[in-house]
Symmetry: C2
Subunit: 330 residues, 2 copies
């Protein structure tokens, strides 16, 4: 590893994984942490426990703000483990001089999103630091969820599973990028930021055989698929033309040379479900977003690899993102 932290160490991709394993996992080594995915499973499998700090810039963007994002992010991590978000803590670090009206707007957005999840903030912390010590406001939320369905894990995906994405990808990353760079889009492009628990609840209520769930945040779809391929020692083969990407995101990607599969999402998740349940899963997902799509299958062709098949019959490996596309995306 290099001797200094680089932006890429926070990209949700290869360098991020290296920092986590070589510094944090090495020191904190324990069985629960090793098995931890989006959330740790504790108390004999009864509870899920997850943390996230939010540093997004700008604080307010099309579709959400840092407050809504901070609740969605942590509640979604719990939902991805088959858990119902229940108790959250909220810890804010605020820069001296920050506008109290903006703070109120942010906190109100948090409460609205908590209600969607049926969760409550039960404890908090407020730190104020001198001007220049932090850029405006950072928020940490940490949540406890009640596990409704145990055993959801990215370690046991097999060729009995198919891979589905819940909606079109990349809108959060594209929105933040456009907003940051002052790109005026005449379109309706907005972040996908939303709480996923209501969708997960519907899937569980319908007894879908879910093998794994993961929200495609930093590192996007390609980070999730590569992590899954690696953890389950499988090959995931994806049909490129089945990956839903809206025109606005596609346009921005073509303009700037981005790959939509690496763009961050904040309300889009990937599912590995039993083949037999693919139709009913898609039917349920389409109640929430009509762009849900079956994008791929699991094979043994290239273990630990993700293969992207184009409609022209060519194929290539889809790699874990490296470098830093855009810091402070979440």
């Amino acid at each position: 590893m290099t001797k200094q932290i680089k932006l890429a160490h926070g990209n949700g991709g290869a360098e991020n994984n290296e920092l986590i394993s070589k510094v944090f996992y090495k020191a904190f080594k324990n069985e629960i942490l090793e098995k931890s995915e989006d959330a740790a499973i504790i108390e004999d499998g009864k509870l899920a426990f997850s943390t996230d700090s939010f540093t997004v810039s700008p604080l307010f963007f099309a579709g959400a703000n840092i407050g809504k994002l901070a609740i969605c992010g942590t509640c979604n991590d719990l939902a991805m483990m088959g858990a119902k978000p229940k108790y959250l803590t909220c810890s804010v670090i605020i820069e001296e001089g920050f506008d109290i009206n903006e703070l109120e707007t942010i906190v109100e957005s948090m409460q609205q999103e908590l209600e969607i999840n049926g969760a409550s903030v039960v404890s908090g912390d407020t730190k104020v630091v001198p001007k220049g010590s932090v850029d405006k406001i950072f928020i940490n939320t940490t949540g406890i969820g009640e596990v409704l369905k145990s055993g959801i894990s990215s370690n046991k995906i097999t060729d009995n599973d198919i891979i589905i994405v819940s909606r079109d990808i990349g809108t959060h990353g594209a929105t933040i990028f456009a907003s940051r760079e002052g790109i005026e889009l005449t379109s309706d492009l907005k972040s996908d930021c939303m709480s996923l628990y209501p969708i997960v609840k519907k899937l569980l209520d319908n007894d879908i055989n879910i093998t794994a769930l993961r929200d495609a945040t930093r590192g996007g779809l390609s980070a999730v698929l590569n992590e899954w391929a690696n953890q389950s020692n499988i090959c995931i083969e994806v049909e490129e033309d089945k990956i839903p990407i809206c025109d606005e995101v596609m346009g921005l990607c073509e303009l700037l040379g981005f790959d939509a599969t690496s763009l961050a999402n904040e309300g889009t998740f990937v599912l590995a479900v039993n083949k037999g349940d693919s139709k009913v899963t898609l039917d349920i997902l389409k109640l929430f977003n009509n762009n849900a799509s079956l994008i791929g299958k699991v094979t043994n062709t290239h273990p630990k690899k993700v293969v992207l098949n184009s409609s022209w019959g060519t194929s290539r490996f889809l790699e874990t993102p490296t470098g830093e596309l855009l810091p402070r995306i979440c």
Copy 2:
């Protein structure tokens, strides 16, 4: 309230309380939060849940560093509710360019302190932000503890209780101040930063009738006593000459006009225990620090007030600290 956040909004005193109640409690309003003290009590009283973000500057100081502090801070909040620290999350926000060796030292300190508490970090998050967006590194730890003795609360202190402080006060605040201002002390002054669970465990093992416990962090001893007087609708009368203050802290306070009772501590706690248990409590505390002292009693003279009696027979009210003595103390 003012329209902008001021440093005083993070002081652990009057302005801090106002911000919390008018912005956060107002939006997040719920029964658990309202009853929450150092930690929230959840799951039918079985678990304690607490969060803290650490922004201390400098990162390394006499007696500890931000890593040790981040584990002590959250574990102590759990211990103060009679809980054994069990699971923690660790979320770091790191500035681009931060030295990885320093990060490793910090994380190793965290692990050492976790072992003292018998707790584990089970989930984490790592964000890297561009240079200038954060000053070096901020760490959030959020913990779940197993409640060993329920009912410890600052709402029910009565004149059957006496007030004890576990050791001499103010060393953390004084250490950070001296270090920040480049005051070279020829003394051994160092932060009191330490894990309090082992002491609490010993008290519980000896069946001490504990009414309330509170570590005297931001706002110091005077913030804790005022909060207790207010919450239990009592008067706390403190004998000034019984408050243990070491020579170095006393010297710094005299030099700079500080009041040691407002200085932050990170390993010093206040106890309200049943009168009959005062001797055995002091005996146990003195096993850990010989400066433990019975400092006061509970009366009905001035409800919701703290009275400081001097050895000359005069007395004055000890008020909740206002303004900001020293930002980024923790």
